[in-house]
Symmetry: C2
Subunit: 208 residues, 2 copies
């Protein structure tokens, strides 16, 4: 696809670097921007620039934040003694959108994966241990993806946190099982087997 202008070509090139956006989609977006009011384009450009240069990460939980400490960590009505350990900021947003969790988070920034060259040092593990030692913590909820890397990370973190001397700490993970709306016959064997092993008393199910 040859384009009639190098300026256009550069903009298309820049857009097609984004995930899930190919050259054709990039061209559609750029031609759309070309028809827009310059003010609207300025808004896009400025908000991206500002976001990249001015955004901060909470120094306590490493979530995205406008200030030094994020709105969740600084909210006294949330259970500060409960920490939900997640892989990325997207997981925080996903859990927050359920409105079912009222504790705090700790964003690891990934999971331990030796094959990808990600060791414990690249993740926010030391700051989690530090946080648990300095602040009163009751429960650590592991909300990591159910992969080998996720499970390894849970195992590693649990050992480290137990070794750090906190006796009263309770470790939990989010429930695994058949999704609502999912069909039994299409569930993989692992999920089905685990969901039978970890079955719930019926009262717990109904109370939900």
């Amino acid at each position: 696809m040859s384009l009639p202008s190098t300026l256009l070509e550069q903009a298309v090139q820049a857009f097609s670097q984004l995930p899930g956006i190919g050259k054709k989609t990039a061209l559609r977006l750029v031609l759309h921007l070309l028809k827009q009011d310059p003010k609207q384009v300025e808004f896009l450009v400025e908000s991206v620039k500002k976001m990249r240069t001015e955004i901060k990460f909470c120094r306590r939980c490493h979530n995205i934040s406008d200030g030094d400490v994020c709105s969740i960590c600084s909210n006294s009505s949330r259970k500060q003694e409960c920490i939900c350990v997640v892989e990325s900021i997207r997981d925080v947003i996903a859990i927050e959108s359920t409105s079912q969790y009222n504790g705090t988070y700790h964003v690891l920034g990934g999971v331990i994966s030796p094959l990808d060259g990600v060791g414990p040092d690249q993740l926010q593990i030391d700051s989690l241990i530090d946080r648990v030692q300095k602040e009163y913590t009751e429960e650590i909820i592991f909300a990591l993806n159910p992969t080998i890397q996720g499970d390894t990370t849970i195992y590693y973190l649990q050992k480290k946190l137990t070794a750090s001397g906190e006796k009263s700490l309770r470790f939990t993970t989010i429930a695994r099982g058949i999704a609502f709306g999912g069909e039994l016959e299409y569930a993989d064997e692992m999920t089905l087997a685990r969901s039978i092993q970890n079955r719930l008393p019926i009262e717990k199910y109904i109370s939900k």
Copy 2:
């Protein structure tokens, strides 16, 4: 979906104004940019800004251009006496990518559509007539989309151009018919009927 930062929210808001990009995709794009090198984000931002403010339109054919006259209009090896009338810049790019056309273009900027409030005055029709009167032109190829609006525009343009006094002008449209790889039974009746009416001598088909 509530986001933990207003800067993030603004960037997501800006991206979700783009066509075909919803809030979830916008969030994915923005979080991707957040992980990127600031230089790469700067490249995206600058190229969009530059594209919107510095891009020009060819004053002869209204195609996108880096200068006053586009690379197609200023190319003396292309047939300047043949004008392909298209609706938008995207159509120029589509036809150019076939490498089968060696004439020039004229971008109307839309088609006549009274229901959408688009009359002949909003389109680059006067400049086309002006161009045909001033320059030697042999053929006008209408490559508009086969809609009622497209056909109306062709009819209007043909009348106007004929009235403008050019006697030797030849009018053509691109061929309509069953697409290559298309199946007869799934073609709509209109297309099939027209493709029978406008059937080709077999030699023409084979020589392609």
